[in-house]
Each structure stands twice: as structure tokens, then as C-alpha cells.
Amino acid sequence: MARLWPISEWIQVELGKDGWPARFTWNGRVYGVHKIRQRWQVDGDWWSEEGHIWREYVALTTTDGLLCVIYFNLLDQNWYLSRLYD
């Protein structure tokens, strides 16, 4: 089942030596990253009243088998959880 948050959840991310997420903390629990599956960047909607979107997305699997989509927001320099498949 997939969960999608209308307003993404703030998470704390620890990067590995390769510059990609190695661990992240959400709701007080730490998740280890098993594998980076996909990555992409979004930079758009700069003209809209709602605001410019500039994000680096990462789709990953955690060591306990969850598939997550997280992103780094380049505008506020924070990581967020966008989707969770369990």
C-alpha cells in the first residue's frame, strides 16, 4: 500500500561517502538505506503564484524493506519524505 503526504514530512538525513542518503530519521525512528533505486531532479513552476519547486528526488529501499521517495528541497535546504510503499 502506498502513502502519499499532501504536505511532505520533514526528515533528518545522513549522507554516505558517495553523497547519497545512507540513513534517515522519521518520527523518531532511524531507517537505514539499503539501495538507491532511482534519482531525479525537478526545477519548475517558477512562474506560478504557488511558488517555485526545486528538488532532488531519491527513490530508495530501506534495510527493513520499505520503498520510499524522499527529496531534498534546494530552496529551504531540508529533506522530506514524499511517498512510502510498504
Binding site: 531525479w40 525537478v42 526545477d43 519548475g44 517558477w46 512562474w47 503564484e49 532532488e56 528526488y57
Partner: protein, 1049 residues
């Protein structure tokens, strides 16, 4: 690490509406990033190639690689073209790439370019080269498989791996595995990794190497927004719609990046980066700037081109110079030696032949521009100005040390120019002949409209902003918008800021290609091997992808075949005059003509008719032909802004001492009393003071002409240093040398070539002569050549009446299509042509003519007219209201009768029902209203005469009376606005010309007053102006203080 990558896939803004940066900006960015080489690969285009090449040379050390992204027909007929990148390896490859792109546009190749009568003409369709053509043109080219819309990647994205393999195999069949690379890009899109993995598998399977590119569409990230906007503009949708349709890239990763950033994107594929460097090293193709590439001129009797040129010059010597002086022979010899050394005899012969054809066909023509500095051009009849008599300078046109090709511009009677163009096509073949293009670029209005639309500004807001534009510069409008934002209207801040940002970025970007007004390229090798060709919108017309600057910078020779309506005017006027005369041999010293010029009686004449010219003429008071040359050259924005005008006038009036920065300069500047006005003088100055060779001096002039002010560029500083060093060697003191250089730098871009001014002055004199001695013929031709010149037909006719030539109203039985001279009771006049009636096209005229020339002759009445012409009811109604049927009855009665006719499907009953009615007589004002609506004027007289009695009673003066008032007198005058100008150089002032039945008057409206009366000025034609009379040197104007609508009710 930094030198291990070369960008081989890079689009400039010549990939129209899909890329955002100028070729020069891409070069600058590549240098900043430390790239050793850069390829320019615009889509089906080499339009930016010359600019790219020149910029790379100027940048120094950047290896410029020529190439293109070429659209190829689909592999399996599914309708979608694929694209691939082709890079020029050798000169043969360059020619092949031009051929291939041309083929994509013209489909059938040069040998079968459809003519204008060929129904197969496709107009502007998306280019698509065939696989056969690709195979045919592969020599000297290397290929990359392209980006996401490339033949291979697009198939993988669509999960058609089999088709991707088939496409790659087909490309390998064409180019071989030594000349084909699978192109990898990493833009961090959701499917980028998958695409790259599959491309690697494919490359491995087929034994093909891979290469990394970034598919650049803008120099820096900041310009990605402009590209987004351009994509929306191209699709004629908003940005939101473009996003919803998936047309916009999801990020801004197609900027140019350096080797380190590319290495991070291809961390596991260093070979893909390294291959880009290896490919770049193989690319040796260049733009060949040295070759003239002209066709050989077919010379009779086995003579050489030069021998024939020599013979032609000799043959016309005695005709042009009844006294052949040593100076004439010396100059001729000097020029011929240089022409022979430069290998340009054929060029002169080609132009001579075009002029010869034109004259044989009775098409009036005359050379303009710097070519008139040449005695050879004069002897060949290309130009009409004797360079010796007018102290012109051949080196402005051509010199041995000049690096650019000479340029010959010829004006032809506009209505027959096409015959000349067709002659050139026929003579040299369509394979060797094409028109130079003109890139239509974004300026304030187009930028505002297109960007406003994609940003979803409401149409009325765009209209309002557009209507208030007072500059053509999109950047300046952007600055004004930001000022508006700073002034504080939070509600619109965000969209206005975006609009301003995009307007700055889009300023000067090309929007579409059109045909240059007259530039024609003729080449020895087939033209499609020199530059790609496209179809123009005009049927049968082919244009090359380079504009005039690129053609010039590429070292090609173009000939400008320009259309000039004034030459048509002269031809037509001469054909109306009974006594034969050779206007080209008029003595140029007729006092009557100079008196006419001094009183600014020049409406309708060439070059000296504008409001500004007419203000200047009484002040300058031309007395000899050289004065007309100065008049033509001095009333231009440059000299006015550069402060040249007043010193010259003061010196001419003896109010200021004539002085020179150094006595040596006297010989160069004495003709303009020490004021630098002509380009030839600038060249002479550099020769005299700094000892420059003429060609070097011309280089300095050209560099200065491109210099926009401010701090000197390094190249100009270098020239300045050489100038001062040369001056010192000549014994010139530093102060004088610096003053001379400052004078040259100040002269900057505004100077006019004297030979050009002289050529135009000659036509100005001829038109003045026609106006003075044959006014009816002159005005008739002037009206028939409309639209041309500065004034509307209404103003021209007012002027004509004041010169004793009447205007007879249109008459269905007497009028031709055009105006024609008609004497009535020994009074000269013009019969209004039916063309003057609004909506009267040639088709209507043909019906009238055919019926009138039939045995039944002229029309006996309304019914007869309708029966025999079957003209549409509204056309007949307009003819009645315009007065063309006045000989058949009262206009209102005729309209009534027309209403009673059963007039459907062009069938009329033979019996004409007549109902007796008593109609009110048409008043003069009603009649005039109809005439203004349909003719744009009233044949019975100027509108103001109807209001004169009331104006007289109110103490309002005529324009003529104002001219007789003393300086400083406060007056009121009424008139019709006929000209309104607000030049950017005038600091907000508006210049207005009002006309009444006695003449024209110039009104000056100060900036503050303009703001007060802006709406009135734009909405009302009839004005009552109060102001202060300004008299000065024979010119009168009125400084407005108040204005209001002239109440006519």
C-alpha cells in the same frame, strides 16, 4: 581533469524557440568553464555558425566545431522524424552538411527547386532529410545518435528496444562504426538511468563507442526559464498549459557545465567524456573566410574578366568625362590595379551586367552606398556620382589592406525590382543564387505580447502596456516595469517581475526568418554547399540561413538589389512629360531649385522632405550641390545627438571660427568647416594624422562605428595606441593627436558615407527639379507610387493645390485606375484614380475598364453601370458616396435608386423601378465626411476651409498667418494633425505638423504638455492649438502651451 570534456551537442537561440542563448554567450560560457572546444549544433540550421566562429576566434583558444542537429525521416514510416547530431570533420563535410540541411527543407534538392508557378511549392514545412540524402552526404561528417528525441534514445524511452537497435544499425550502415557514437546524456530525469543503461547495452551489442554530451539549450541555468517560455510561445499556449501537456523539461539541467560537473554525472563512464575530446580533435572543418566564391563571368571573345572590365571602362570614359584629365586616368589606373589584385573584376562585371539589363528594360536604377566612391563603378554606370568631382575616397569602398569584401548596393524602381531578381536567377541558375535572410528578432512589442500571453496576463493589460510603449528596446521596457514594481503595487509584483526578467532575456533573440530587403548571394560553387537554404513564405523564393552580417563576415559577396519607389516615381513622371529630357544629365546648379530648397518647398521630394529636413533647409540654405549632400547627411539622429549640427550651422553662418584639432586636418575637414561628418573624412584623418594605411584607417572607422560609447574595448585601445604612436612619428604633438582621436571616437557610429549621401542628393535634386518644372507629372507619379515617403496623400494633395495643380474628383467615366494628368480649361490637374476610393481593387477596375472600352462606351447612368459591370452593391454605393457618379445625379438620389434595384446574384431586371421621392440636399459637410471616409481626403478642398468663417470670427489664425507673426507672439491656430513624431532622441518632446487650407505648420509639444494632452493628441485629428511663435533662420514653429479639440458641430 578540466580539459577532459568537450561539449558536442549545443544549441544556440537559432534553434528557434527551443534554446535561449546567443552563440557568443555560449562561447563566453565555454571559456569560463575551461572547455577546450565547443560544437554548435542548432536544429536543421547553420544560422549561428558564422557568429559562433567569429566569437570563438575572438575569444582565442577555443576550438569551434561546426555541426547541426539534423531531422531525419522516420525509420519505419511511423511519421515521427528522428534527430541526430552531425559534426563537421572536413571541408567536404561542411559542404555536405549544408547540402543535407538544404535537402531537408527543399526536399528535392537544388536541381529541382520549384519556381513560383509550381503548385508543388510547400511553403515553410518542418525539415526532414531522407535516408538516401543522409547516405549521399555522409562524407566528412561524424554522427552522434542524438538526445532524447534522437533516433535511438526516443525508441528506448518508448520501450521499443528493437527499433532502437534497428535505427543504430541503419546509422552504422551509413557512417560506419568509426564515425558513429551512441550519445549519452544525464539530465537527472526519472528515466535517465534506465535510458543510459539500455544505451550502453545497445552500444555494446553493436560494437559502437559512446560519448557524453549535455544537450545544451542555454548557457547558464538562469536562462532555463526563457527556454520554458519559448517552448510555450512556440506552441501558442501558456506556461501552465505547457506544463500540463508535459512539454516543459522538468528541470533546468540542460545548461552548459564544465568537465568536473560532467565527470560527476558520468562517474562510472570516464571513457564517454574522453571520447568527446577525441572526437573534437578530429573535427578540422572550418569556415573558409578567404575565398570569394563568385561565379566566373562569361566574357566575350576569349578575353579575361579583367581585360573586359578594362575595355568597358575605356569605352565609357569619353561619355562620362568629356575632358579626360590626368587625374581621371590616374584614379582609374589606381582602382583597376587594386581590383585586379583583389580578383574582383568578375564582381564588377556581374553588377555591371545587372545594371545593363535593368537599363535595357527601362528599369530605373542607381548605385548607392560606398560603391559610389569608385570611378570604375561610375564608368560602368553602376553609380551616378563622379567621385572626382565630389572628392570621394575609393578606399572607403575597397583597399588592398582591407579584410572585408566590398559591398555594392543598387536601388531599382520598386515596382520592377522583381524582374531584376528573376534575371539574376535565370542568368546564374537557381543552384548558385539565393536571397540573404533577415532574422526577425524580439523587440519590446513582440516580447511583451508573446511573454505576456504565456504568463497569462489578461489581454487588456497586454494591450494597455503595448499601447504605452515608447521604446523598441525590450530591456528598457523591462527596466520601466521594474520601476513600476518598485513604486509598489504588490498585487502584480510577482508576474510583473517575471515579465521584466524574461523581457530582458528575450531581447534580440530571433523569432523567425524572413527575406532581406534586397541582399542577393551569387556563388561559384553551388550555393547549397556554402550555406543551407530554406524556403521562404513567398512562393518560389529560397533564402539562405545567413543574414547580411554573417554573409559579410564569412567573406561572401552579396549584391543588394533594393527597391526604391522614388525611382519608379521619376520614371513615371518622365513618361508623362511631353518633351523628352535626360534627367541624368541635368546641370546641378539651377538657382530655382536652390531657392525652392531654401524655402523648404520639398514635400514629396526624396530625402529632404521630412519635418526635420524642412526645419533645417532654411537654416542651412543650400546654394550648391555639395550643400544638398551635407543636408542629406546632417539631418540624422547621429549628428543631432553627436552635437555636430549646431557647430556646423554656426560656422556656416560666420558666427563661429572654423578651427581644426591640427592644421594637417584642414584638407580632410574643410568641406564641412572643420566638423567631422562623413566616414571618408574619418579615414582621411587617420591617414593624415597617424599615418595609417587607408585600409587600416577604415578598420579603425569600422571599429569605432561598432563602439557604443563608454569605456574603450581592448581592440579599440590597441588601435588608439597605434594612432597615438603614428601621430608621434608624424611629429604631431600629443595634445592634437589625442584631440583628433577623441573627435574620431565621438564620431562613433553615426557618420554617413559621403558617396551614399551624394547618390541620394542627386535623386533629391532630380525630384526637386521635377516638382518645380513639371508639378502635375510629379504629383501624379508621387500619388501613384504611394505608399512612400513621409506624407499621406491628403498632405501631398494639399501641397499640390498650393502649387497650382488641381484635383479633379473620381469619375466613373473619366477616371483610370491610377491618377492621371488632365487639363481642364487650360488648367492643370490630376484626375483622381479609382484606386483612391477605399476598397477599389484591381478586379473592380478591370470590370469598369472592360465595360467602358466595349462598344457601348461610357456609362449613361446608374442602371447602365450596374447592368454592364455587375459590381457588388456596396462597391457601387461607395463609388456614389465618393462622388464618382456625380455626373449621373445627386449622390443621395443615386443611393436611393440603388436601394430600389433588385440586385441579387449579379442579375438585374431590365426595367428600372423609379419611385418619386424628395430628398434633402446633401450638405457640403456631409459630402466631405463621405469623401474623407472613402478617399481619405476631399477632392473639393481641405477640410479646414469649412470652419474658416467661424475661426476667423474667433481670432484663430491660419498656418500661413502664423508664419507671418513676429517671434514670441502668442497665437491660436486650428488645423488637422497630419504628422506626429516622438523620436527617442528628443527627450520626450513631440513634434506635430498641422495642416489647414493654407499650408503646414510645425508644433512643438514639450514632454510635460504631452503627458497632459496625450489622449487628446492620440484621439482627435482636428485641433485648436495655442502657443508661442518661434522664428529662426527662416523656419517657423509654434511652441504649444495649450490644446483642445476643434469643435466642429
Amino acid at each position: 581533469m578540466t580539459e577532459h570534456y568537450v561539449e558536442l551537442h549545443c544549441h544556440s537561440y537559432f534553434t528557434l524557440l527551443d534554446a535561449a542563448s546567443a552563440p557568443e554567450a555560449l562561447v563566453v560560457r565555454a571559456k569560463e568553464l575551461g572547455l577546450p572546444a565547443l560544437a554548435l549544433t542548432d536544429r536543421d540550421s547553420m544560422a549561428g555558425a558564422v557568429r559562433f566562429w567569429v566569437a570563438a576566434q575572438a575569444a582565442g583558444g577555443l576550438h569551434a566545431i561546426l555541426g547541426a542537429e539534423v531531422s531525419v525521416e522516420p525509420l519505419d514510416g511511423d511519421g515521427k522524424a528522428g534527430r541526430l547530431i552531425l559534426l563537421v570533420e572536413t571541408q567536404q563535410g561542411y559542404a555536405n552538411l549544408c547540402r543535407l540541411i538544404t535537402h531537408g527543407y527543399l526536399r528535392d534538392g537544388m536541381t529541382a527547386i520549384p519556381t513560383d508557378t509550381d503548385p508543388a511549392w510547400l511553403g515553410k514545412t518542418p525539415p526532414r532529410a531522407s535516408w538516401d540524402a543522409l547516405n549521399d552526404c555522409r562524407g566528412g561528417l561524424m554522427a552522434l545518435t542524438g538526445g532524447r528525441d534522437g533516433l535511438v534514445a526516443s525508441s528506448i524511452i518508448e520501450r521499443r528496444f528493437d527499433r532502437a537497435v534497428a535505427a543504430a544499425q541503419r546509422l552504422r550502415d551509413v557512417f560506419g562504426s568509426e564515425r558513429l557514437w551512441v550519445e549519452l546524456q544525464q539530465h537527472y530525469l526519472p528515466d535517465s538511468d534506465r535510458l543510459m543503461r539500455n544505451q550502453m547495452v545497445l552500444a555494446s551489442q553493436l560494437g559502437l563507442p559512446v560519448v557524453a554530451t549535455n544537450g545544451v539549450h542555454y548557457a547558464t541555468r538562469a536562462e532555463s526559464r526563457l527556454r520554458d517560455a519559448m517552448i510555450a510561445i512556440d506552441q501558442n499556449i501558456t506556461l501552465n498549459e505547457a506544463r500540463r501537456s508535459g512539454l516543459l523539461p522538468i528541470n533546468a539541467n540542460a545548461a552548459m557545465i564544465g568537465a568536473d560537473d560532467m565527470a560527476r554525472r558520468f562517474v562510472h563512464l570516464p571513457q564517454a567524456l574522453h571520447n568527446s575530446v577525441l572526437i573534437a580533435e578530429r573535427c578540422k572543418g572550418a569556415l573558409d573566410f578567404g575565398a570569394h566564391r563568385l561565379p566566373e563571368f562569361q566574357v566575350p571573345d576569349g578575353r579575361s574578366e579583367f581585360e573586359y572590365l578594362y575595355a568597358l571602362c575605356q569605352a565609357s570614359l569619353s561619355d562620362r568625362y568629356p575632358r579626360i584629365t590626368p587625374a581621371v586616368l590616374k584614379q582609374l589606373t589606381h582602382e583597376l590595379i587594386i581590383i585586379e589584385q583583389a580578383g574582383l573584376a568578375g564582381y564588377f562585371l556581374i553588377v555591371w551586367d545587372i545594371v545593363r539589363f535593368s537599363r535595357e528594360k527601362g528599369i530605373r536604377c542607381q548605385g548607392r552606398g560606398s560603391a559610389a566612391n569608385s570611378i570604375v563603378a561610375y564608368l560602368l554606370g553602376i553609380t551616378s556620382i563622379d567621385p572626382l568631382q565630389h572628392h570621394l575616397l575609393f578606399e572607403r569602398f575597397l583597399s588592398p589592406d582591407r579584410h572585408t569584401m566590398p559591398d555594392i548596393d543598387i536601388d531599382f524602381a520598386a515596382d520592377r525590382r522583381e524582374e531584376v531578381i528573376q534575371y539574376v536567377y535565370t542568368k546564374y541558375g537557381r543552384e548558385h543564387t539565393g536571397m540573404v535572410c533577415n532574422w526577425v528578432t524580439y523587440h519590446a512589442r513582440s516580447a511583451l505580447r508573446d511573454l505576456g500571453k504565456v504568463l497569462e496576463f489578461p489581454t487588456p493589460v497586454i494591450d494597455r502596456l503595448s499601447a504605452s510603449l515608447e521604446t523598441n528596446s525590450a530591456t528598457r521596457v523591462a527596466d520601466a516595469l521594474l520601476e513600476q514594481v518598485e513604486a509598489g503595487n504588490d498585487a502584480v509584483e510577482h508576474p510583473l517581475r517575471l515579465l521584466a526578467m524574461l523581457m530582458r532575456q528575450i531581447d534580440g533573440c530571433p523569432r523567425h526568418l524572413s527575406i532581406h530587403t534586397g541582399g542577393m548571394l551569387i556563388t561559384g560553387p553551388p550555393l547549397d554547399q556554402v550555406v543551407p537554404l530554406e524556403r521562404a513564405t513567398m512562393p518560389g523564393r529560397v533564402v539562405c540561413q545567413w543574414n547580411k552580417d554573417s554573409v559579410e563576415d564569412a567573406g561572401l559577396i552579396k549584391i543588394d538589389l533594393l527597391g526604391l519607389r522614388t525611382l519608379g516615381l521619376v520614371t513615371e513622371a518622365l513618361s508623362t512629360i511631353d518633351t523628352p529630357l535626360d534627367i541624368d544629365r541635368l546641370p546641378l546648379d539651377d538657382p530655382a531649385i536652390y531657392m525652392m530648397l531654401q524655402r523648404a518647398d520639398t514635400i514629396g521630394t526624396f530625402q529632404v522632405e521630412s519635418r526635420a529636413q524642412m526645419q533645417m533647409l532654411p537654416r542651412l540654405a543650400p546654394r550648391v550641390f555639395e550643400d544638398i549632400i551635407i543636408e542629406v547627411a546632417i539631418v540624422r539622429p547621429g549628428p543631432i545627438q553627436g552635437g555636430t549640427v549646431h557647430p556646423y550651422l554656426r560656422r556656416r553662418a560666420g558666427e563661429e571660427l572654423v578651427s581644426y584639432a591640427h592644421p594637417l586636418l584642414e584638407s580632410a575637414l574643410n568641406e564641412t568647416l572643420g566638423v567631422l561628418l562623413f566616414q571618408e573624412q574619418a579615414i582621411r584623418m587617420a591617414v593624415l594624422i597617424a599615418g595609417f594605411a587607408p585600409g587600416e584607417a577604415d578598420s579603425l572607422r569600422r571599429a569605432l562605428s561598432r563602439f557604443g560609447g563608454g569605456e574603450l574595448t581592448p581592440a579599440l585601445r590597441e588601435l588608439g595606441t597605434r594612432f597615438l604612436a603614428g601621430s608621434a612619428r608624424n611629429g604631431i604633438d600629443t595634445l592634437s593627436a589625442e584631440a583628433s582621436f577623441k573627435q574620431l571616437a565621438g564620431f562613433a557610429g553615426y557618420g554617413l558615407c559621403k558617396s551614399h549621401a551624394a547618390s541620394f542628393a542627386l535623386i533629391a535634386y532630380q525630384t526637386c527639379w521635377l516638382k518645380h518644372y513639371h508639378p502635375a507629372a510629379f504629383y501624379c507619379a508621387l500619388l501613384n507610387q504611394q505608399p512612400m515617403g513621409f506624407y499621406s496623400p491628403e498632405v501631398i494633395i494639399g501641397d499640390m493645390r498650393r502649387h497650382g495643380v488641381n484635383l479633379w474628383p473620381p469619375d466613373i467615366n473619366l477616371s483610370d485606375y491610377n491618377y492621371r494628368v488632365e487639363m481642364r480649361n487650360s488648367m492643370p490637374g490630376l484626375r483622381t484614380g479609382l484606386r483612391a476610393v477605399h476598397g477599389m481593387g484591381k478586379e473592380v477596375w478591370e470590370r469598369v475598364r472592360v465595360a467602358r472600352e466595349a462598344s457601348a462606351g461610357v456609362f449613361s447612368g446608374l442602371v447602365d453601370l450596374c447592368k454592364r459591370t455587375r459590381l457588388q452593391r456596396d462597391v457601387v454605393s461607395d463609388l456614389i458616396r465618393a462622388g464618382a457618379l456625380d455626373s449621373m445625379g445627386d449622390r443621395r438620389e443615386l443611393l436611393w435608386q440603388l436601394g430600389e434595384l433588385v440586385y441579387q446574384d449579379e442579375e438585374l431586371p431590365f426595367v428600372f423601378p423609379v419611385t418619386e421621392v424628395i430628398l434633402t440636399e446633401l450638405s457640403e459637410l456631409e459630402q466631405m465626411d463621405w469623401e474623407y471616409e472613402l478617399l481619405g481626403l476631399s477632392p473639393t478642398g481641405q477640410a479646414m476651409r469649412h470652419y474658416r468663417p467661424a475661426l476667423d470670427r474667433a481670432g484663430v489664425l491660419t498656418t500661413q498667418q502664423v508664419k507671418q507673426q513676429r517671434n514670441g507672439r502668442r497665437v491660436r491656430v486650428g488645423g488637422m494633425q497630419v504628422i506626429r513624431q516622438r523620436p527617442p532622441t528628443a527627450k520626450g518632446l513631440m513634434f506635430l505638423s498641422i495642416e489647414d487650407e493654407t499650408g503646414l505648420l510645425d508644433v512643438i509639444v514639450l514632454a510635460k504638455l504631452y503627458e497632459t494632452y496625450r489622449q487628446l493628441l492620440h484621439e482627435e485629428r482636428l485641433l485648436l492649438v495655442e502657443g508661442v511663435v518661434q522664428q529662426g533662420s527662416g523656419a517657423t514653429s509654434l511652441m504649444a502651451t495649450q490644446m483642445r479639440r476643434l469643435y466642429t458641430g
